[in-house]
Assembly symmetry: C2
Homo-oligomer: 363 residues x 2
């Protein structure tokens, strides 16, 4: 059988390779595209699995994993697990991680216009903001502003109309805000400063101890659903329901542009559509959960829900207009985004003044 | 070389098959799952590509096709192209097509509770309804009700707060509704009947000619964005902006249950997440487009926008309560869904009375 060993076996080997080589190669090349797995990390500014805020990134990860049949897996990290809550933007920008979930107003030191995409005092409600972002040119402006940082932002949930917050004393006149140290981010913080207060920016996880120790005299956070979870009622007596500084607060998904561009087209679409689905789902969650949480605060924890007096709100509105005018004068990016936002707001406010406003009064 | 032909070639063939058989079989079986293409048909109750209503199913088809890399393709048909607008439910139920896009109140003859998932007079707004559907048990109840028909419903967009509609004469007192023939579906139609009017149900595409010919004296449809597209201003003089019968109208995706169950898990998830993304996108579209359309109606077409007098609204509210009480008494399914809906509404109305209502007044 020398002939077998010396001639036929090598030939046989060639035949074996030829016989199934082409097909296998084609199959495994297709397979490579279809089964290449991407493992992403997403850092967030919230405690892991925190109601609403912290569930939005988890839902996103789940949707994406299921829709892609595991081809894109996103591991979610709470604030401080991988990077601190306020370093989410930098981590995504530098490509340390592929994604982040946070709030746009946290980056106003870097990008003065960023708070406009989050929430503006006396500005748009959640649904109005969503309409501007997706049908009024807002998202394009947002993506232009983050582009120099290599980040693609997408709307990442909205926590709805936010309460004015928790205070250790009653707020009866605008002067009661003088000297008040309050945790309040974004343009709302600038307005407080104009009223003589001291705005302080703290990640969610650090607010309770600051309030309890007296390092701050008051705080806004989100609304009953989230505020109950943090137990603020144990540290401050008065809870003001009045909506003024954040009438509808957008969260954001931050995506490293390079990582996004490396995905095949179907996974890119899965990412953007999942973000959009989470955007509504989070607002639904807040709208459904806030009221029961408010009841618990009142009935179980004896919290007094109060309203800011109309003259205080009118003063805050006047200060807001001043602060915004200054920002428009100081920063070209702010001016450009504000022009789009304020025109859209004027229109939709007119429309809702004819529809939802009287409806809320009549029903 | 007889040895080669007689012994070695057959052996070689076995070796070739053994060498690559297992892997190839595994690969092509995976491939079969990953590349099996599903071609679905979706019938709708709207003119093809009609603004808002007709774009929602097109967006859905596009999202699904891109996310699945073409593995699930959905062809969309306008009303009357494959089946008439009001036969969408039956076509999906019978499996003639795999999907439909329509409005739940169209099926109240078949399922008395179905209008509750669409819109209820003096009921929930769009965001309130979304919260109830997705976090208040609404969607589960909806799916239970459609299950005997082999249909899975999903929220399929919301057209927001709807105008009271177009009238050929002014409505100054409740008596002006007596004898009025008006196109108005769902529970709103029952309320009109209670007020002495004659509710008529017509698919969108048939309203204009009915209004122009005088077959009807008035019509509601959606709001400025859609009403402008149908040109109603050419057939009726008065346009009432007051929101009462449909404070936030949900559309629906109808999915044939058997067809859905035949999809692999990843495509099932792609279908549900795409529907959710379209649900918000459609509301965004309406919120963004309604106001400009209203301006055009006023400035270009000299339409008078009017409000229903408060006593008329109060009477309509009283009639609504009566109609709903009767439906609760008459139908077990209605009673069950209404119990859930009305409890959620009471809660979220309280909450919005503390937040959005004063905000609309103060901003």
């Amino acid at each position: 059988m020398k002939i077998v060993k010396q001639i036929i076996l090598p030939v046989l080997a060639v035949i074996v390779l030829t016989a199934c080589g082409d097909k296998q190669q084609a199959a495994s090349s297709d397979e490579a595209v279809a089964t290449q797995t991407f493992k992403w990390k997403m850092v967030t500014s919230w405690p892991k699995n925190f109601p609403g805020l912290g569930l939005a990134p988890e839902k996103f990860a789940q949707y994406v994993s299921e829709m892609s049949n595991g081809r894109l897996q996103v591991q979610v990290f709470g604030a401080g697990e991988l990077v601190p809550g306020f370093e989410v933007f930098d981590a995504v920008s530098q490509g340390t991680v592929q994604m982040g979930h946070s709030g746009p107003y946290y980056w106003k030191g870097k990008i003065p216009a960023s708070p406009i995409f989050g929430a503006m005092p006396f500005g748009m409600t959640a649904t109005e903001l969503n309409a501007w972002l997706h049908y009024g040119g807002g998202l394009e402006l947002w993506q232009q502003l983050y582009k120099p940082f290599g980040i693609i932002p997408l709307a990442g949930g909205n926590s709805g109309a936010q309460f004015a917050g928790w205070f250790k004393k009653e707020i009866n006149t605008i002067d009661d805000l003088k000297g008040l140290k309050m945790r309040i981010p974004g343009i709302g913080g600038e307005v407080l400063q104009r009223a003589g207060g001291v705005p302080i920016n703290l990640p969610g996880g650090e607010i309770f101890s600051a309030l309890q120790s007296g390092a701050i005299d008051g705080t806004e956070w989100v609304g009953p659903y989230n505020d109950l979870a943090f137990g603020f009622y144990q540290a401050a007596e008065y809870y003001y329901s009045s909506v003024w500084h954040e009438p509808g607060t957008a969260l954001e998904f931050l995506i490293n542009e390079k990582a996004f561009n490396e995905l095949p087209k179907d996974l890119q679409k899965i990412v953007t559509v999942a973000a959009r689905a989470v955007n509504e789902d989070t607002l639904d969650e807040y709208n459904a959960r806030n009221n029961n949480a408010m009841k618990q605060l009142i009935e179980k924890h004896n919290v007094q829900i109060k309203e800011l007096p109309a003259p205080v709100l009118a003063e805050l509105k006047r200060f807001s207009d001043e602060v915004i005018a200054e920002q428009v004068a100081a920063d070209e990016g702010f001016a450009k985004v504000w022009a789009s936002y304020s025109a859209f707001l004027a229109d939709i406010r007119d429309y809702h003044n004819k529809t939802l406003k009287p409806y809320f009064e009549n029903r």
